[in-house]
Amino acid sequence: MTKERKQALWGLVLVTPSFLLLLVVVVIPIVQSFIESLRNEAGGYDLSRYEWLFTDKGMRNNIWFTLKITVISCALVLLIGYALALYLRFSPGKLAGWIRRTYMIPMFIPGVIATYGLMNLLGNHGWLSRLLLPFGVTLPRIIFDEKGLIIANLWFNIPFTTMLLSSAIAGIPGSVIESARDVGAGKLGIFFRIILPLSYKTFLVALTFVFMGVIGSFTAPFLIGQNSPQMLGVAMEQVFGVFQEREQAAAIAVFTFLLCSVLGFFYIRSMAKEEAARM
């Protein structure tokens, strides 16, 4: 056997175990749940499970509600994430140093805990409302309301987004920005002409992760969402666990895949291009 053939074989042997695991926990379940979702109550195959998604009034509300929360959360997270990443990159001060050291901590806090903390802080008679009482401020209803859900999404996603964007912005050479400043570019000009184009791919990655993170979220909407309309993650769990309708749950799951498929496709494609450029 030549040296190259031997190497190729070795590579495949080393990769196979983890690839098999990937097949078992991702590829097969998805294919299988797609097939399952096409099964109707009579045992035949058609689109009736999907039809129900759009004809059932409660389910239709759930879908709109999920999309609304997701879009609002994505917009806010990316806006704040960018602002924060830029601030961390260009501010030399002590405060920025402190934030740089601590902003990643929320990424490692268990979701249940953070949600519980938010419930206690922002809830009816929570800590914030007690602290604001002397100032005569009364809070609107936040927990068990869409406001609370959006706040929880911000809490979970801003640190991660900031981390990704920081690492992208750190890769932009300071000299490029300096020279743009020398020829008279304003702050907005620098952002839109230099920073955004150069960190655009990471922006896409961040958008993909936040979008999927919110659509596929369960803990926060389960604990602080209202009973109706629900986020799709909670609706799915109920259909699966409480009503035991596996085919219907599979259909909702496949529907969320479809919602994310465009972004997922762009994410994988842009990563593949990047990798091709360096190999």
Binding site: A8, P110, V112, M163, L232, F257, I268
Partner: protein, 274 residues
């Protein structure tokens, strides 16, 4: 007051206010739990508890199912971390060093774990596990925990192996070291920080995983986050706060220990090609 504002500058003041809001937003919920955990009595509308006590700590620690959940969580996290090291590190080495067919296809297949919304993926897996009889088994729970970590457990070490200069390996070969020896004494130690970060991340991820376990592991595999779900609905908020601290402590300790290694750059390499 006014002269003070003018001398500091409006920009600094706005900056300060924004950052305060930011700090309160992120630290507030956690601080609130810390205060709650040590409060004896805290009635509305007091801003602080008027009685501090440790009674909820003994209450929580004496409950048997809570103690069980702690050891179960650590057991599962250890299995998940060990298994993912054994499965993913060889793959990462192959991606970084060896030329083999369909390399890019294999590397990018791991992106699939993050290309689907989590709860949708979990429900799909649960549908499959139901058929295979893996519901409510240790293997089922371990497998569902592996999904989240497969990608960065492969990608972060891949980036780490790539950063080891081939020249260093070659010079070790030149002085007569065997390939295995080179891997053990040169490549592995230099890639260790990346592997360590990925392992810590994996361990924490498994400790925190709630949604998948909730779907697949009920009723026998109640890990800490699952117990937390029921504590939230069944017990007073101080008990929940105590358990929150117990659940968060390992995270904070491990993070502090790995603080030097965890940076935005290393973590980001687990989610994107750079």
């Amino acid at each position: 007051m006014l002269w003070y504002f003018r001398s500091v500058g409006l920009r600094r003041i706005i900056e300060f206010i924004l950052l305060t809001v930011f700090a309160v937003f992120f630290a507030g919920p956690l601080l609130n739990l810390a205060v709650l955990a040590f409060s004896g009595q805290w009635t509305y509308p007091d801003a602080l508890p008027h009685q501090w006590s440790l009674k909820w700590w003994s209450f929580v620690l004496q409950k048997e199912d809570i103690a069980q959940s702690i050891s179960l969580s650590f057991l599962i996290a250890a299995i998940v971390t060990g298994l993912s090291i054994v499965l993913c590190i060889p793959a990462a080495y192959a991606f970084a060093r060896i030329r083999f067919p369909f390399k890019r296809f294999f590397l990018f297949s791991f992106l699939l774990t993050h290309a689907f919304p989590k709860m949708g993926l979990y429900v799909s897996i649960a549908v499959l596990f139901y058929r295979l009889g893996l519901m409510n088994t240790l293997l089922g729970v371990v497998l569902i925990h592996m999904i989240n970590v497969l990608m960065f457990m492969t990608w972060i070490p891949t980036a780490a192996f790539r950063n080891v200069h081939a020249a260093q390996e070659e010079s070790a070969r030149d002085v007569g070291a065997s390939p295995l020896r080179v891997f053990r004494s040169v490549t592995l130690p230099m890639a260790m920080p990346g592997i360590a970060v990925a392992s810590v991340f994996t361990f924490l991820n498994s400790l925190d995983e709630a949604q998948g376990t909730f779907l697949v592991g009920i009723p026998d595999y109640k890990t800490m986050p699952i117990v937390m779900y029921s504590i939230i609905s069944d017990f007073p908020s101080s008990a929940g706060a105590v358990f929150s601290i117990i659940l968060t402590a390992p995270t904070l300790i491990l993070l502090l220990a790995a603080q030097r290694l965890v940076s935005a750059d290393v973590l980001a390499s687990g989610f994107q090609v750079k």
